[in-house]
């Protein structure tokens, strides 16, 4: 029997389950290496060379070089692992989160100060009448409804 995944219709959201984890294993393990200051320095000196030390796919490496967090998540990354890349860049969780929403950092911060993004319209794609996304790529990029 297939594992029940009732979360697949939640817009703009990727649940880090065993399938995502399997695809993202080396991407996430690369991120773990950035918890050492020496490795952060080596990564910053030559990002492409550092990434070549890991058994990641070409798409995963390119997403890291592009700092495209939605793409990294679609390719199996998890935010708590990917946050090590943001930390290496000196970015906060708020800056990382904003980068995934299509909003500027100021717009995102203002939305949060005003109470955040409402769950209304964001519980399921069925609320907006759209078909449920079928691929990790579509799930990671399907738009969330604005505040």
């Amino acid at each position: 029997m297939a594992i029940d995944k009732p979360y697949l219709d939640v817009p703009g959201t990727t649940v880090f389950d065993a399938d995502q984890s399997r695809h993202g294993y080396w991407l996430n393990q690369f991120c773990m290496s950035l918890m050492s200051a020496d490795n952060r320095e080596r990564f910053k000196r030559d990002e492409a060379a550092y990434l070549d030390e890991w058994a990641m796919t070409a798409d995963q490496k390119q997403a890291v070089l592009d700092r495209d967090m939605n793409r990294m998540i679609a390719l199996g990354g998890n935010i708590y692992f990917l946050a090590k890349i943001g930390a290496t860049d000196g970015k906060s969780f708020q800056q990382m989160a904003a980068s995934m929403t299509g909003m500027s950092e100021d717009e995102y911060r203002d939305m949060m100060v005003a109470g955040g993004r409402s769950p209304d319209g964001n519980r399921s794609v069925r609320e907006s009448g759209e078909p449920a996304p079928t691929t990790p790529e579509q799930r990671a990029t399907s738009p969330g409804k604005p505040a």
């Binding site: 959201t13 393990q29 967090m69 939605n70 998540i73 949060m112 409402s118 769950p119 799930r139």
Partner: protein, 284 residues
């Protein structure tokens, strides 16, 4: 005289709160309402500092990578280093454990059919240190011993609310069967509503959070039945951390036939960075 759980504390563990404390930003207008809201909790803690805190939190891909993913773990070490999560370690004291009580809890809880993973090398991240900072301020050493209880809420499958509540009950029985006269608190941390990923990042649901607090206080056995999908839809993908609060709640004596706990403090604030912040203190 045996050990006993005197109180439970519930709090968010947002990393940006740690940064605000470490960089001396707590008086800034953005942060003042949050830290004002924690002042009564800090006063309560000063008057009720226990011997040991059992601190339930989740490791955020810090000690546990994808190599090993324990569902429920317990730290039985004498000391825990503060982790470098990528920004450098927080400038806070190392955490001193209580190996004897921790080992006793592991023994007792495993005999009660909860297969805890025993951990002796554990670097603690913001999930554990931010709650200590919020409740204790900036001491040169933490005022009591801490037993870390990391729970996997990052990598699905994750434990159900019911399993968390049941674990709390098992921990209470374990503590009460320890022969030393120790005052023990149990803290449940994480949450409240928040989502850190994807185009839906920034989700906050104050009505959900307030109802969660109401039910946590008065109807925890009902709350424990809430399925994961409800947290994801209503409280955001990272709001699932709230299931950990049920472990602390399960350890309160009303679930073993005692009276309802007394609410000593309740506070709610939006936002801290991406997150809705909740703080609750229940006394037995």
């Amino acid at each position: 005289m045996s050990a006993r759980i005197s109180a439970s504390v519930y709090t968010s563990h947002v990393p940006a709160i740690g940064v605000a404390i470490d960089l001396g930003k707590t008086d800034e207008p953005y942060w003042r309402p949050l830290f004002d809201g924690y002042d009564p909790a800090k006063e309560w803690f000063t008057a009720h500092t226990p011997d040991v805190i059992i601190l339930v939190y989740n490791d955020h891909a810090t000690t546990f990578s994808l190599d090993i993913i324990p569902t429920f773990a317990i730290g039985t070490a004498a000391e825990y280093a503060v982790a470098d999560e990528g920004w450098g370690p927080r400038p806070v004291p190392d955490v001193v454990g209580h190996p004897e009580l921790a080992s006793h809890i592991a023994y007792s809880v495993i005999q009660q059919d909860f297969d805890l993973t025993i951990v002796n090398r554990l670097a603690v991240d913001h999930g554990l240190t931010v709650p200590l900072s919020l409740m204790c301020g900036q001491p040169s050493a933490w005022p009591c011993q801490v037993i870390p209880v990391p729970v996997n809420v990052v990598h699905y499958p994750i434990p159900s609310g019911q399993r968390c509540l049941d674990l709390g009950q098992a921990i209470r029985r374990a503590v009460e069967s320890y022969d030393d006269d120790l005052d023990v608190q149990i803290w449940g941390t994480g949450g409240m509503s928040h989502q850190l990923q994807g185009p839906r990042a920034g989700l906050i649901n104050s009505p959900f959070d307030q109802a969660f607090l109401d039910e946590l206080i008065a109807a925890p056995t009902e709350l424990a039945k809430k399925p994961h999908i409800d947290y994801i839809r209503e409280a955001g993908s990272e709001g699932i951390e709230l299931v950990m609060w049920l472990i602390a709640r399960g350890a309160m004596s009303d679930l073993a036939g005692g009276p309802l706990p007394t609410v000593r403090h309740r506070f709610y604030h939006v936002p801290a960075s991406n997150t809705a912040v909740g703080n609750l203190i229940l006394e037995n």
